[in-house]
């Protein structure tokens, strides 16, 4: 099987992480304005994509990511804007399509959707869904979303939503709306992406990135079995860039430690130790924290192993200052990305 080449793309993702100024946590409203600013700067420094992941907590006050994305779209002209992720299971596929097709209209065809559960399970109790139904909700709603994205009147019947009988769902798209499925560990979700012809986005937030290579292989082989063309594969991982490795770690470690310790009990993460952090930051870990050269090397090492053509850095952590974040964005766009491209273009092509 020959490996088609997709353009290398580089993006930035945020979960709406609460920002701070001079050590004081910002309000939710200020955080949202800061994130809009981050999206605008992301375009200025040449990035291809800015993504916002839906969250519903005090540390991540970002339930209406599409509204923030629309504000970014109105202030930019080239960068793509999308979700990272949209928690489709606790949403209505019709409404999700309507919001993102509206975003696609506002942005002149720059909208994207990444569907998934993410780590945001708060939306389930908030909207009255049962976590035990997660798999069935996601399966059914993804199938409906795939029908809607095709365009034309939709007739559909399922268990999780009232039926549709030849209804026209507007606004119609006049440019494609790329759809990905975010996968954190479920092979079923990889097969689901292949079945619907959606792109694959690997969410690698801990451990060895190479551990995800079998997911890429599963995706590629599933597409081949379905006689579908090869589709892009992306990687989403957390990180932070500063002038030196030491500075990046100093800026990232305290906020990372505090937030993991805070959310860990409900998500099964142990409180991180300095040794754990060093391992995650090192070549065999999932955190892209360091100088531009360190981060570029890590990206250039991992993308070929994962048969991926896209890297989205999930930047920021609750409590980081907007000034530090903007400098990280600038270094990512102006130094990491050109260097990673240079390294990747000179890298041997691995078989798909």
């Amino acid at each position: 099987m020959s490996e088609p080449s997709f353009p290398l793309t580089f993006g930035l993702d945020t979960f709406g992480d609460l920002t701070s100024e001079n050590g004081v946590p910002s309000t939710h409203a200020q955080t949202i304005r800061d994130i809009v600013e981050q999206g605008v700067v992301a375009e200025q420094v040449g990035l291809d994509f800015f993504g916002i992941g839906e969250h519903h907590t005090n540390d991540w006050p970002m339930p209406a990511a599409d509204v923030a994305l629309a504000a970014i779209a109105a202030r930019t002209s080239r960068i793509h804007v999308g979700s990272a992720v949209t928690v489709l299971s606790s949403d209505d596929p019709v409404r999700v399509f309507q919001r993102f097709s509206t975003l696609n209209a506002i942005s002149n065809g720059r909208a994207e959707v990444v569907l998934g559960r993410g780590s945001s399970i708060e939306s389930f109790p908030l909207f009255g869904y049962d976590l035990a139904d997660y798999e069935e909700l996601f399966e059914e709603k993804t199938a409906l979303f795939a029908e809607i994205v095709k365009g034309g009147p939709v007739t559909w019947r399922g268990r999780m939503r009232p039926p549709l009988n030849g209804q026209d769902i507007v606004p119609h798209l006049d440019a494609p709306l790329p759809v990905s499925i975010g996968v954190g560990g479920s092979p079923h979700s990889v097969l689901r992406a292949a079945r619907h012809g959606f792109n694959l986005m690997l969410a690698i937030i801990g451990g060895q990135p190479a551990r995800f290579a079998p997911f890429s292989q599963l995706f590629i082989q599933a597409l081949a079995k379905l006689d579908k063309p090869r589709l892009p594969i992306g990687v989403h991982s957390p990180g932070h860039v500063a002038e030196t490795d030491e500075r990046a770690k100093e800026e990232f470690w305290p906020v990372y430690r505090d937030i993991i310790a805070k959310i860990g009990p409900s998500r099964g993460f142990p409180p991180p130790t300095p040794e754990f952090f060093e391992r995650e930051v090192g070549p065999r870990g999932a955190l892209y924290v360091g100088s531009p050269e360190t981060v570029a090397m890590k990206i250039a090492t991992n993308l070929p192993v994962l048969s991926a053509n896209r890297f989205d850095l999930k930047h920021g952590m609750p409590g980081m200052s907007q000034a530090v974040l903007l400098r990280s964005i600038e270094l990512f766009g102006t130094e990491v990305v050109p260097r990673a491209k240079e390294l990747l273009e000179n890298a041997p092509v691995l078989p798909g």
Partner: protein, 215 residues
């Protein structure tokens, strides 16, 4: 087959099942993977992610197995027919973890661990609790040969000595240090609110955290 080379059936091919199936196949076991789906629906997943394991129908896989591993979400457990597992050694690696997977009223019990409730329903099986207290991603990348420095420990709790012995050998061979912690009731200490859940540890640290040796 018997005790020297038990035949393994992994029930589930999701996050967890595919990892256990891979580890067991790499350790040289004959491994069958089965779900409630048709075999062709999981064939590619198993072929790519657990090379060497075979996909079978659920009842066939269980019938021929010496060791059955429940790698399904706990909320699906109610759909499993207990009669199927009669006489089998069963590893329960499921967790009751309401924050992540939702509330299940039958597991909202202060007086019994989740594996004791599983064993009560599978009353003709010999249930052993292990493999539950590390995440699938940790199991995926932390397996190591016997004697490797820092090799991760897995606690094993069960009431049937022969079943525990079979499981002890399995845990060791797939790459973890087996630590017998007592009967199934002791397995409550391996649960999500316990001292070792989600924290990879070597044997010494594990035994200390569990209070098996003085701190």
């Amino acid at each position: 087959m018997g005790v020297d080379q038990p035949r393994v059936a992994v029930l589930g091919a999701g996050h967890v099942g595919r990892v256990i199936a891979r580890l067991a196949a790499e350790a040289g076991y004959e491994v069958d993977v089965a779900t409630t789906q048709q075999p062709e629906d999981i064939a590619l997943t198993v072929e790519v992610m657990a090379p060497g394991a075979r996909v079978r129908l659920l009842d066939q896989a269980v019938a021929e197995a010496d060791l059955v591993i429940l790698a399904i979400p706990l909320h699906r457990f109610a759909t499993l027919d207990p009669a199927l597992l009669e006489g089998k050694v069963v590893i329960d690696m499921m967790n009751y973890w309401p924050e992540v997977n939702g509330t299940l009223s039958q597991f909202e019990r202060a007086d019994a661990g989740s594996s004791e409730l599983v064993a009560a329903r599978l009353d003709q099986a010999r249930v052993v609790k292990t493999l539950n207290h590390l995440g699938y991603h940790q199991l995926d990348e932390e397996a190591a040969p016997a004697g490797a420095p820092g090799r991760r420990a897995l606690g094993i709790a069960g009431d049937d000595p022969a079943a525990v012995e079979l499981v002890r050998g399995f845990v060791d061979r797939i790459g973890f240090d087996p630590v017998l912690i007592g009967g199934l009731a002791a397995g409550r200490r391996l649960q999500p609110d316990g001292p070792v859940f989600g924290i990879p540890m070597g044997r010494v640290d594990f035994e200390r955290a569990m209070g098996l040796v003085p701190a």
